[in-house]
Amino acid sequence: MIFNASKISKSYGTLAALSEVDLICQQGEICGLIGANGAGKSTLFRIILGLIKQDSGSVEIQSSSPKPIGGIIEKPALYEYLNARENIKVFSEIQGIKVSAKTFNELMQEVGLSPDRKDAVKNYSLGMKQRLGLAVALLNNPDCLVLDEPFSGLDPMGIYSFHNLIKKLSRENKITVLISSHIVGELADLCDTLYVLSKGRIIKSGFSGEIYNSSVSSYKLVGENFPDMRELAAMHPIKIQGGYLVQISRKEITGLLETLINRGTRITACVPQSDLKVLFEDKT
């Protein structure tokens, strides 16, 4: 265990923002926190990062690093009138570390930024700012990284490359990553474990595959030569571009695919669709 948030509660007046939240991450693990807007994700992350104090509960980080945990809350906060090197200089000097030119270059390369760029950060795209924010979070080699909605505002290519970057950091540098989003698809194949937060409470937790699969209630089938789908009325098929959306469970999809293939249908894609109602259904 490297990170353990235990029974965290926080209220603002009569509003219970968090209620007895438990969250554990292992070393090198990528943990995802899914929740709708206003579920309490940012509040929990702020508590974990020490920006606000919880009303009760504890946060324990097992680390001997001078900076056990680094993070980005929502959009990265940088000094826009400074350039990348100056931002790194500012954030490193305040924590008493000196970043040499060599270290700076390596850090920039690690997050996929050019070390030669001299202009102010205000000229950077959002994706580049995210990367620079990540570089700042990685200063002083934290054992744990907390990223709150890091994909927010990024285009698909940006999301894809940021995904890969996080995976690389986790696998190669053995950094524990705690990442939040309100979009299931962003976290499903990135995270090892998932926590579902609804109205300040953890309602589901477990391996991301299991959590994601448990909420799948339909599939998008793409292909050619589909038969008359009226025969499958019970699955409520909906015609979509290039195929159908069918409501069917994980257990039954294999059987359906076999049937369609036997009837001469050429299936080119079968994409599970998570049902957010099911995902956020509180069975506790």
Binding site: L51, A77, Y79, I94, G96
Partner: protein, 278 residues
């Protein structure tokens, strides 16, 4: 590590263009005050010496650099604190607005060190501004208007020879610096309390106006009249009494310094205790 935090704060101040704008604004105001002091100066001297013209003949020019500096000194103590309060509070409110305060506190640096360095650097900045103001005021005034006796009206006409006028004016600037420091630190504490730049500016301006009004009010309480902060702000004027009340000045400065310390500590405590909410 405190040195590093302070160095970084100084670096940020010097790299921001608004610092330059603010300094330019201060010197532009000084220029306007200097020009108006020159045109007002003749009128003032005529008014002061009106009753004496029947009996006396005057030799020498009272409209000289020393009088200009004195008039600038009198006018500076509203404009300059206002600008200082805007700039200094901006050192913190801009960090709230840009959320860089979160990014900083996500690093292993204590809240106390962070906000403490803000107070320290704001103090250094204030000292630097007043020092530059003094140098330019003395330099330009002496260069353009030359030296000479200084006439001051304080319970009568006081005439000071040029050398004496210089050190009285310089001492007044030095003592006035502590008043400016007080305003700067108050504005930073307001920034801690209000976080938002506009709110902080409004409150700071109101504070400055009220201070100037309270300066003129006679309280019923002798302790308040003696030690309330607004009564200490213009202690620099004592340097233009014919017999300088040194003890009073030292006591006033000590008490004002205590006010500065109190305001700073209050700001640090509030900042430390408060959650950093979005």
């Amino acid at each position: 590590m405190m040195k590093g935090v302070i160095r970084v704060e100084l670096f940020k101040i010097l790299r921001q263009s608004k610092t330059l704008y603010a300094l330019v604004a201060i010197f532009i105001i000084e220029g306007f005050v200097l020009v108006s002091a020159y045109y007002q100066g003749t009128e003032i001297i005529d008014l002061l010496l009106a009753n004496l013209k029947d009996t006396f003949e005057f030799k020498g020019d009272l409209l000289n650099g020393n009088l200009i500096i004195y008039m600038i000194l009198n006018s500076l103590w509203f404009h300059i604190p206002l600008i200082l309060m805007i700039i200094v509070s901006g050192f913190l409110t801009s960090e709230y607005k840009d959320r860089t305060i979160e990014a900083v506190l996500l690093q292993p640096v204590s809240k106390t060190k962070f906000i403490g360095s803000k107070y320290l650097v704001s103090s250094l900045f204030t000292l630097l501004v007043v020092f530059l103001l003094a140098i330019s005021t003395f330099g330009i005034s002496y260069l353009v208007f030359g030296k000479g006796d200084l006439v001051v009206y304080l319970n009568g006409l006081n005439f000071y020879p040029t050398e004496e006028a210089f050190w009285r004016l310089a001492s007044a600037f030095a003592v006035g610096t502590l008043s400016m420091l007080f305003f700067s630190l108050v504005s930073l504490t307001f920034a801690v309390l209000f976080k938002d730049a506009t709110k902080t500016w409004i409150v700071s301006a109101i504070f400055l106006v009220c201070t100037n009004l309270l300066l003129k009010i006679d309280f019923d309480n002798s302790i308040l009249n003696r030690f309330f902060y607004s009564k200490l702000i213009d202690s620099w004027q004592y340097y233009f009494y014919y017999e300088i009340p040194y003890e009073k000045i030292y006591i006033n400065m000590s008490v004002l310094f205590l006010y500065c310390v109190f305001v700073s500590i209050a700001g640090i405590i509030v900042f430390k205790k408060r959650d950093l909410l979005p």
